[in-house]
């Protein structure tokens, strides 16, 4: 008998070692997929449009640098060259023309077609004999005065035509990009703005940090303010790390101290935490084998698992201690298993059902999260069932039996006091009020990234500063229209938006002057200047210049002036091809970037009101607004599915409809108060805090199940024993998550507040409401 028990223990130890080794290897191979895009449903139309137009990527990878130096203009060429040499940089835009690349490229292909009326008049005048002579005289002056560039300018452009084109291009740029410098400078010429495009997305924090460090290194001696995704990523990463560091630095010692004080043992807290730690390693390790790279959201499962997994160990160890006072160690373990097995399994199954419901949604990031949580919960239970008994058995001689727990006595006294009934009813009232507030006010789901950072962050201020300098939002909205639709209504609509001040400027297909009117003007110019090349040769000869040397230059200009856009193409700006259709594409830049979902919605509504109804608006900053409702409906559907599953599992676990419903009282109150608080304060649920919900759900159901199971076993005495274990799980979770309330990231702070509120209410409901209901509803 003893031999077979030893054999069994050996098998268990070998199994645990094998699992831990596999998990540890898996954890070392664990890769985080920093691309937040992978979290989104890839079949979503807006996600596809953002990817198809590259608008999302371009917005994410644009980093604007505000540079300050007294002689910045003179130093810019060298700086740009230094930045271009960086292997981390895809391109650098410093010249104004580079900020509107599409148009510049189209203009290079058929330059004449992009000239405005003033330029067409100047060109016609410059191609006439008198204009030619003037141009040649200017070029000769350059030859006489500039030994470095004069000859080259004379040979390539003896008539000085290049100025007509560059002036026209300058006039086509927005107001802020005009002025007397080819660079983007302020009036005092001591501040410049340049755009650096990165080679990877800013979600890759390592890359973002390396890029910013490299740029700072290359721009030593300059005051530099980076604005954009990379800077936001770095700022957020630093802030979140700081938040977690400051919170963990005191919450972990405090949790350990509490457990030591509460269990009155140095060893027991470690024995409780070891199986949880092992379960997290196994889950993440095996998860990485099975899922491949995981998203940062999925990785947050580790925190939830620690919160929920510790419950299993705390209940198991507590009950074992109780039994150990009566019988020997193997018998105590056997009794513990037989008595709380059902409650542990019920708790694990209900939480798993909730997480499975989340993982069946449309969001791949949530699927991974749900899968890891289910796996982790299974391992937590397995570790509590197999690993913890081995530890308890092995350390049995050091675990001395203790007297009655002070906290348990206090809890029992509170439950027995005359105040318990009114307090239980107050809890019911609070929970009910919470659900009513939720039902009447509704709960907003806001997935916008601004929710994740403080409103007055350095990046928010820098972004505002940049927009003030430019006079417009540098990352605009893209609008696309099926090419089979006429472009004129789009042109008129955009012109209206600009006239009414909704947008500061725009770029794209609607600005291509390729219509019949422009064609007629060009035709007229070409007629009026026919034979200009021969005339130029004669004028050069008359100026004492041998025309042969100028043949190449004149031919090159003749080719450029004769160039037309590709036949059949009515736009020089490349069309956007998507799902076998071609689309006109334009980018609209408002005066300032909308800072909230409400402002974005308002801007889109105004834009939509002026543009043809078939236009699609692609706002890289508004993807969260588009996906927020989808995520909210996913969560709502999950909530219903998991409510049903939790109810069924509770009933099956307790083999009674009545007891099953009573066991749900803590979670109903906990979630009701937490969600009601959100609704009352008009705080939205967002990706940073919604993880609180599964956590409260898991803890609340656990609390209720354990209390009901024990109450049915020992009656009112359950409050003193199981109440103590629930107290321990509540305090550890409340310290762990409550410490986040002081975080500077609003998302993390609201997560802390929600979990703290939910767990405290669940605890109070477990020791006050559940016993009250059990007393009232059971014979």
């Amino acid at each position: 008998m003893i031999g077979s028990a030893r054999m069994c223990s050996l098998t268990q130890i070998l199994l645990l070692i094998a699992l831990t080794v596999a998990g540890a290897i898996g954890v070392t191979r664990l890769k985080i997929d920093p691309d937040v895009g992978s979290v989104f449903p890839q079949d979503n139309r807006m996600v596809q449009l953002l990817q198809g137009t590259s608008a999302g990527q371009q917005a994410a990878r644009s980093l604007f640098l505000i540079l300050e130096s007294p002689s910045i203009e003179e130093q810019l060429p060298g700086l740009v060259h230094r930045l271009q040499e960086s292997p981390l940089v895809a391109s650098v835009d410093a010249l104004k023309a580079e900020f509107d690349r599409d148009r510049t490229a189209a203009q290079t292909a058929a330059p004449l077609w992009y000239l405005d009326d003033q330029a067409l008049r100047e060109l016609e005048q410059r191609l006439q004999p008198s204009g030619q002579r003037e141009g040649i005289a200017d070029s000769l002056t350059l030859l006489a005065t500039d030994p470095i560039g004069g000859k080259q300018a004379l040979l390539s452009d003896p008539l000085g035509l290049r100025w007509v084109f560059s002036d026209s291009l300058a006039r086509s740029l927005p107001e802020a990009l005009r002025g007397d410098s080819p660079y983007l400078l302020n009036d005092r010429r001591d501040t410049a703005v340049i755009r650096v495009m990165g080679t990877r997305d800013p979600f890759d924090i390592d890359y973002s940090q390396a890029l910013l460090a490299d740029l700072a290194d290359r721009l030593q001696g300059f005051q530099m303010q980076p604005v954009g995704g990379y800077a936001i990523a770095q700022e957020s990463s630093t802030r979140i790390k700081g938040d977690l560091h400051s919170s963990l630095s005191w919450s972990i010692p405090l949790i350990l101290l509490f457990l030591i004080f509460s269990t009155r043992s140095w060893l027991l807290p470690l024995l409780i935490l070891l199986p949880v730690g092992a379960a997290v390693v196994w889950a993440l390790g095996l998860g990485s084998w099975m899922l491949g790279p995981v998203t940062p959201i999925a990785l947050s499962s580790a925190a939830i698992l620690i919160g929920l997994g510790a419950d299993f160990s705390i209940h198991f160890a507590g009950r074992f201690e109780e039994e150990r006072k009566k019988v020997d160690c193997p018998s105590a373990l056997k009794t513990t298993r037989s008595h709380i097995g059902r409650a542990l399994l019920g708790g694990m199954l209900t939480s798993s059902a909730a997480f499975l419901a989340i993982s069946t949604g449309a969001f791949p990031g949530l699927r991974d999260l749900g899968f890891l949580l289910v796996l982790g919960l299974f391992f937590s239970l397995f570790a509590t069932w197999v690993f913890l008994p081995l530890l308890l058995q092995g350390c049995e001689s050091w675990l001395k039996p203790r007297g009655v727990d002070g906290a348990g006595l206090l809890i029992a006294r509170l439950t027995d006091s005359p105040l318990s009934a009114p307090m239980a009813l107050i809890l019911v009232g609070l929970g009910g009020a919470g659900w009513i507030a939720l039902g009447s006010g509704g709960l907003a789901f806001d997935a916008s990234p601004e929710r994740m950072r403080p409103a007055d962050s350095a990046q928010a201020r820098a972004s505002q500063q940049l927009e003030e300098k430019l006079g417009f939002a540098p990352l605009g909205l893209t609008v696309v229209l099926d090419q089979r639709q006429p472009i004129e209504p789009l042109k008129d609509g955009i012109a209206d938006l600009q006239r009414t001040g909704v947008i500061a400027f725009s770029s794209g297909a609607h600005r291509d002057p390729l219509g019949k009117t422009q064609a007629a003007k060009i035709e007229q110019l070409r007629k009026a200047s026919a034979g200009w090349a021969q005339a130029a040769e004669e004028n050069l000869r008359a100026a004492g210049l041998g025309p042969n040397a100028f043949k190449a230059g004149i031919t090159s200009w003749d080719t450029r002036l004769s160039a037309n856009p590709p036949s059949g193409q009515s736009s020089g700006t490349p069309l956007f091809r998507w799902k076998d259709l071609s689309y006109w594409r334009a980018t609209l830049h408002p005066h300032a970037t909308p800072r909230s979902a409400k402002e974005r919605k308002e801007l889109q509504r105004t834009i939509r009101g002026s543009l043809p109804s078939q236009v699609e608006i692609i706002d890289p900053g508004g993807l969260s607004d588009e996906l927020g409702p989808l995520l909210a409906s996913d969560l709502q559907r999950s909530l219903w599915t998991c409510t049903l599953a939790v109810l069924l599992i509770c009933i099956l676990s307790l083999k009674s409809m009545r007891f099953g419903l009573i066991a749900l009282a803590p979670v109903v109150c906990g979630l009701g108060v937490s969600l009601g608080l959100l609704a009352l304060l008009e705080w939205p649920l967002h990706p940073g805090n919604f993880l609180a919900l599964p956590l409260i759900l898991g803890l609340g159901v656990d609390d209720g199940l354990h209390m009901v199971h024990r109450y049915r076993e020992v009656g009112r005495a359950a409050v003193r024993t199981t109440g103590t274990y629930i107290w321990r799980t509540t305090v550890t979770t409340a310290i762990g998550f409550g410490s986040l309330i002081s975080a500077t990231s609003p998302a993390i702070a609201s997560l802390g507040l929600l979990v703290l509120t939910g767990t405290v209410i669940c605890f109070l409901a477990s020791i006050l409401l559940v016993p009250y209901l059990l007393r009232k509803m059971t014979p």
Binding site: P77, D138, A144, G149, K151, D180
Partner: protein, 233 residues
């Protein structure tokens, strides 16, 4: 014996400087004159002068003459030529850029170099840096006159030869100032710059900031980047 021969020849073939065209007394005289020039410019912060420039070109039947005011800053080296003939043009050159501003046309062209080798070489002639001119040029010949002496130089490096093939400096004997410079490009086009009414400003003097004054507002600017020619080029 073989070893001795090898030891003798190795520095001759590898370590010795390139063959100097000038030798003996003439070489010493040229070096002495350059040393005097360098000493004369030792404390100079800025050189102002009037100038006349004659530009020859294969494109032209006869050379073009221009002129105006010459300003040269020693540190950081910068040359500003304010032409008033044939019409107002300002040419500003430093180690990495070259700007031609035409005030009457309200426009400017800026060439941005990885390294403006020509400007660096030519500006060095008018500063104390002239004492290291032999790092860039070989002293080719010396023509001593009563009033002034002309030294002809040839670039040492292939890189510089691609920009100018010959440089001639005319130095006044009395005060060792460089009064004229003539350089020829690889197409044998010569640029001749003659200075008059030279004024030297010492380092202690308070001077107007003429070199870094921004261009007036509303000037249209074209910018071109000039890459350093690769070794293959």
């Amino acid at each position: 014996m073989r070893l001795a021969l090898a030891l003798f020849l190795t520095p001759c073939l590898v370590g010795q400087p390139a063959h100097e065209d000038l030798s003996g007394k003439e070489l010493l005289a040229a070096r002495s004159l350059i040393e005097r020039t360098s000493m004369a410019l030792d404390d100079v912060r800025r050189m102002d002068a009037e100038f006349v420039q004659t530009q020859e070109s294969v494109l032209l039947e006869k050379p073009m003459v221009s002129g105006g005011l010459f300003y040269l800053r020693a540190q950081p080296a910068c040359l500003l030529l304010k032409f008033n003939k044939p019409r107002a043009v300002e040419v500003r050159s430093d180690a990495t850029s070259h700007r031609v501003y035409e005030p009457t046309k309200n426009r400017a062209t800026r060439l941005v170099f990885e390294s403006n080798e020509l400007a660096k070489a030519l500006m060095g002639v008018f500063t104390q840096e002239i004492n290291s001119i032999e790092k860039l040029f070989v002293l080719e010949s010396l023509t001593a006159g009563k009033q002034d002496t002309t030294i002809s130089l040839r670039p040492r490096s292939k890189e510089l030869s691609g920009i100018l093939t010959k440089l001639q400096l005319t130095i006044r004997n009395s005060d060792a100032l460089v009064l004229a410079m003539r350089y020829t490009n690889k197409e044998d086009e010569a640029t001749h710059l003659r200075l008059m009414k030279v004024v030297l400003h010492s380092k202690g003097e308070k001077l107007d900031q003429i070199f870094d004054a921004p261009l007036p507002k509303a000037v249209r600017i074209q910018v071109r980047q000039i890459k350093k020619p690769s070794k293959a080029e």
